[in-house]
Amino acid sequence: MGEFKVHRVRFFNYVPSGIRCVAYNNQSNRLAVSRTDGTVEIYNLSANYFQEKFFPGHESRATEALCWAKGQRLFSGGLNGEIIEYDLQALNIKYAMDAFGGPIWSMAVSPCGSQLLVGCEDGSVKLFQITPDKIQFERNFDRQKRSAVHKMLVDRQYMGVSKRKCIIWGVAFLSDGTVISVDSAGKVQFWDSATGTLVKNHLIANADVQSIAVSDQEDSFVVGTAEGTVFHFQLVSVTSNSSEKQWVRTKPFQHHTHDVRAVAHSPTALISGGTDTHLVIRPLMEKVEVKNYDAALRKITFPHRRLISCSKKRHLLLFQFAHHLELWRLGSTVATGKNGDTLPLSKDADHLLHLKTKGPENIICSCISPCGSWIAYSTTSRFFLYRLNYEHDNISLQRVSKMPAFLRSALQILFSEDSTKLFVASNQGSLHIIRLLEGSFKHLHTFQPQSGTVESMCLLAISPDGNWLAASGTSAGVHVYNIKHLKLHCTVPAYNFPVTALAIAPNTNNLVIAHSDQQVFEYSIPDKQYTEWSRTIQKQGFHYLWLQRDTPITHISFHPKRPMHILLHDAYMFCIIDKSLPLPNDKTLLYNPLPPTNESDVIRRRTAHAFKISKIYKPLLFMDLLDERTLVAVERPLDDIIAQLPPPIKKKKFGT
């Protein structure tokens, strides 16, 4: 396959935001996750836990509550006192409505799904009617002063020490009248709501129990503690054949290092998230029917989209953070070496630019042009384009002003290979093409969405010759546009699983599409059909280990001189597919990191297959070919993230 010089980059100082809320939607099997920076992410649990949508965060919009209502409508409430509904098609905020009760701390939906209740800072609970396109205020329940039906007094005692205050972090009300509370003294308590009496008490932690979620059947629930532990409670029969059941603490799980701020309970899994930024999906083994991919523990740390773009010509990397961009120039070496060597640097990497956004909105997407002369990025309400000038070691930045009104919010930005065109996927489904001139621009064309659809395009790919533009949304097929004639060329048939990465190969103009179920398709744009190779691999099937990978492919690129090669990567491996070699079957060793030693050429040829995989760089956030023999790999070691988190509650391992 060959030898590469790899620029191994670990200075992308990205720290994901902590998870604040999770909400599971049984109807669509989707999970909404909100983070402390206000970002809301939607994971499709049916599509291999792919993070298919996200709503960028906002500095003043700390989300404290998240819930699904009326089927698939998503609401959130936060410290700014607003109830927000998200538009899951257009990927923007449908509306924000002030609840007039101060910060919102909790939110719940009525069992029929038509009413929304929010709990506010001023102690009031407000009821909203959910109308087809909005919500309407209906009633206000003020804080009860005298007529409380029952007062359940929580024991503040904790290990003999009386804390100043015992805070109930969460309650659950079961249909049989049982109330379950979790509190800051580490207790899970069961109350009888009819009499207001404490029925049972479980002291499970030395720290706060912060979250609780009950399964739909109400036979199981999950709680999360500040020590990072998640406990599973189940309603089990007292004896093997008695009908009398009781709540029993069954399993503790320790997949977090920090506070578990939010938990959710899907029919088959316990879901937890917290300050340590991981989203953990722990399947319940007894509920998983087949021992397949879904039976494995999932720990999702990184977004399933690219935060990095690269200027191949100038060896530049653009890093996207929530509120700023960083531009780095890679170093260089003149030395050579053999496999595994670290080469002495003749020039170290440089931090060229730190570009801070204005305003409270998070950056949605960003891109640097292949020539390195343009940087574009977008927030929810503004689009920014900058021109970069390089004079020896100096770099100057010039903002291109007067962006047209339609360029307001972009979901994806892409430059053509020759850096003369800019493609912008806006929400509402339209695609804009802009010609870039020295320091200015010209709007060329806008592809309007197909009539009747409003689905936004999240992924774009341009052919190296600049003739073809491919765009994909989250569910419908991939559209291919002819840029010369400015018309829709064809639509790749829709597939069951969302697209995770797209790219068009040089020369052949074959479109390579990766889906969240780990399938990879190759579609010939000129022929408007799948290529022979794609058909072959679909017929034979991918290697089982390939299909069991648990992170999606986030980037595809090509070798400029070798049209048979496709480079793609996920968070834990990168792979160069050599289409000229035979495909591996399930008996073949898929991942073979060791060089052939003394084996004869015959064996070597027989075992050689098309998938050349390397797992050296991980977690891998970005990988691309700079030139024929040079790769750039951006890693983000978990230790570095942990080092930037607040210290966890120290648990003594030894001693008492």
Partner: protein
């Protein structure tokens, strides 16, 4: 000097006297927690040091508790009998006694006995005895009648003698008293008639008993106010014959003769008894401590509000009714000792901690213990060393001469002969001498290492480190881990330096050499327990994700690096091979003092300490998986043993700091250009 400390009241609810008063006080499986059974309907679990109730359970109206609740030390459950025949078994989680496990038996129960080290024993009113498990397996089984008509049980107690329970009960028939001894090792019931001697007229009012290897010393308080002692052999020569035992006067007039109210007597230790009752006919009731050896009154405490003639003694607490309240008077008896005189004896004890005896009693031998002491403690008591040495038997002389010159094979043969001979009282010293002799030859002749003989001698269970100093050193020198494991399991008095040397060896010995040795694996739990299996399946399925270490990484420090984020994954695999785990468990099981261990721990190389810490952490995680915080298996280390090195926390912190430094070093390598070849 025996002393009574400040008394305190346990129950705030006044208790009725008589049958509606107090039925019994029993120990629970947790130190400092006691089950108090109120006559009538209620059982309360108290934490004595906090003077507060932890739980209270009542039977339904109409039912009546007929026998004090006890704790099953093997399961931690509580057992009570109501309406004579109905057993209820529950635990602290249960709220309502009416909903807990119930078994109705076919005969009436007199008492349930429960002590550490054995299952609860049920004594029926007709004199039959059953183990609880057997009863629960078949509750309606027929219970035989042992006692004759009109014969009723007056008093009963159970002891552990050489790890087997021995139950004694006293019956009365027409003014005559009989003692029955039920042993469980040989399943014999022997009956004795208590012969009153000269004081025929006096009526026995109260009993207590202690055990001394072969005899039960039964003490009785008679209506004349005197304490009498009767020695009853545990193993009678002829069990079928009804034998008579005579009692002798032990203490004269400890309470006023013919005291109207209740009097009570209980043995505190070998030399002390506690007596409840009025010392003079007109005086108020008192609790008095008497020294039986010197026949002196040690201390006494007046109980002006009267008492009920019930007295219980557990650990260091005496329980009695004072007026209408259950009162606890802590009792301490510190034997004067040389160490005490020199000020080297530790007096300070945190209230509420487990009561460890303050002194080693050289008169108590192995397997001997007071009813209230648990078996674990008795193990620690050093074996008796006789001053006078019996004349060694001829086989011994023969053996010694063989050891001096003959081959290992011959020695083994002679040793077998010697061990076959009946054991003399000074057997342990002789065995010690043999070992020393063997070691003596080993030092002069290094190739001579009679391993088999030594192993055989260790397995006689009479050796200790001090009886054969040098044995473990020799085994260490020979890296004989099997023998070291055996010594660690058997010897009660290994110095910490040797324990540490063993630890050092166990950590450093290669897996290959372990493979060849035979090691007792009893303490290592079955590796294929379901939890483990399930976890394994998971990691297998997990292809890339967070299963970062698919290659077996060789260096410890790398593992350490991954520790923070991979804590959960670490549960899945034991950091050491099972054989090494068995050896490390032997260390954990051995008796040591942290203070003396630590200086030696520092000699162990860092990577081995890391491995040991990882193993301890693994055990801790395994413990945490279990709700009871115990490990599976036959003799696993307990949580305390795992956690006992609180100092390890400090070491852990140091390692974390080192790790941080290491990380910082890594952080500096934020950018590199490397060569990669894909094949």
């Amino acid at each position: 000097m025996a002393a009574l400390e400040e008394e305190f009241t346990l129950s705030t609810v006044p208790l009725g006297a008589g049958p509606n008063g107090l039925l019994g006080v029993e120990q629970s499986d947790k130190t400092d927690q006691f089950l108090v059974t109120h006559g009538g309907r209620t059982v309360i679990l108290y934490k004595v040091s906090d003077q507060k109730p932890l739980g209270s359970w009542s039977v339904k109206q109409g039912q009546i508790i007929t026998c004090p609740a006890v704790c099953n030390f093997q399961t931690g459950e509580f057992i009570v009998v109501h309406d004579n025949k109905v057993l209820r078994i529950w635990n602290t989680e249960d709220v309502n006694l009416d909903k807990v496990f119930k078994a109705t038996l076919s005969a009436e129960i007199y008492r349930i006995h429960s002590i550490q080290g054995t299952e609860p024993l049920v004594l029926f009113k007709e004199g039959a005895v059953r183990g609880l498990e057997a009863l629960l397996a078949e509750p309606q089984q027929k219970i035989e009648t042992v006692l004759s008509d009109d014969e009723v049980i007056k008093w009963t107690k159970v002891f552990m003698v050489f790890r087997h329970p021995v139950l004694i009960f006293i019956t009365e028939k027409h003014g005559n008293h009989f003692a029955y001894i039920q042993t469980f090792s040989s399943r014999t019931l022997s009956k004795y008639t208590l012969f009153h001697g000269q004081e025929e007229k006096s009526v026995i009012q109260n009993f207590t008993a202690s055990v001394d290897r072969k005899f039960i010393s039964l003490m009785s308080l008679s209506s004349d106010g005197c304490v009498y002692e009767t020695s009853i052999p545990i193993h009678p020569r002829d069990p079928d014959e009804n034998q008579r035992v005579v009692r002798s006067l032990l203490l004269k007039t400890v309470v006023a003769g013919n005291a109207r109210s209740g009097v009570a007597l209980t043995v505190l230790d070998q030399d002390h008894v506690a007596v409840l009752g009025p010392p003079l006919p007109a005086s108020k009731e008192c609790l008095s401590i008497w020294n039986t050896k010197f026949q002196t009154l040690q201390t006494s405490r007046e109980l002006p509000q009267g008492t009920s003639g019930q007295l219980w003694y557990f650990g260091e607490n005496l329980f009695m009714l004072h007026g209408k309240f259950l009162t606890v008077i802590p009792y301490k008896c510190e034997v004067s000792s040389l160490a005490g005189a020199l000020g080297k004896l530790k007096h300070s004890q945190d209230p509420g901690t487990h009561t460890v005896p303050h002194f080693v009693n050289w008169e108590t031998s192995r397997g001997y213990g007071f009813g209230s002491q648990n078996s674990e403690q008795s193990k620690r008591i050093l074996r008796r060393r006789k001053i006078e040495v019996n004349v060694p038997p001829p086989a011994f002389e023969q053996l010694l001469s063989t050891i001096k010159k003959d081959s290992e094979k011959d020695i083994e043969v002679e040793l077998c002969k010697f061990l076959a001979v009946k054991r003399t009282p000074d057997f342990h010293t002789i065995v010690g001498d043999i070992v020393l002799e063997l070691l003596g030859r080993h030092t002069t002749e290094p190739s001579f290492y009679p391993r088999n003989s030594l192993m055989q001698l260790i397995q006689t269970h009479v050796l200790s480190y001090s009886l054969c100093p040098g044995l473990m050193e020799a085994a260490l020198e020979k890296t004989d881990v099997q023998m070291l494991q055996l010594c660690l399991q058997q010897f009660p008095d290994i110095p910490e330096s040797i324990t540490c040397a063993c630890l050092k060896l166990f950590l450093s010995i290669s897996d290959d050499s372990l493979q060849e040795t035979e090691i007792n694996m009893e303490s290592v739990s079955d590796c294929s327990d379901p939890v483990q299996e399930k976890m394994d399946e998971q990691t297998e399925i997990l292809q890339n994700g967070f299963n970062a270490d698919e290659q077996n990484c060789d260096s410890c420090d790398r593992k350490l690096n991954q520790k923070p984020q991979d804590a959960a994954e670490e549960t899945t695999s034991c950091p050491v091979v099972p054989k090494r785990a068995a050896l490390l468990n032997a260390i954990l099981h051995s008796a040591y003092s942290e203070m003396f261990l630590l200086p030696h721990l520092k000699d162990i190389p860092a990577q081995h300490v890391t491995l040991f810490l990882q193993y301890l952490y693994f055990l801790y995680l395994k413990c945490s998986e279990n709700a009871t915080m115990t490990l599976p298996g036959l003799h696993p280390p307990t949580l305390n043993q795992i956690c006992i090195c609180s100092e390890l926390n400090k070491i852990e912190v140091s390692f974390r700091e080192l790790q941080k430094l290491n990380q910082e070093k890594n952080n500096r390598e934020l950018y590199s250009i490397e060569v990669l070849e894909l094949f």
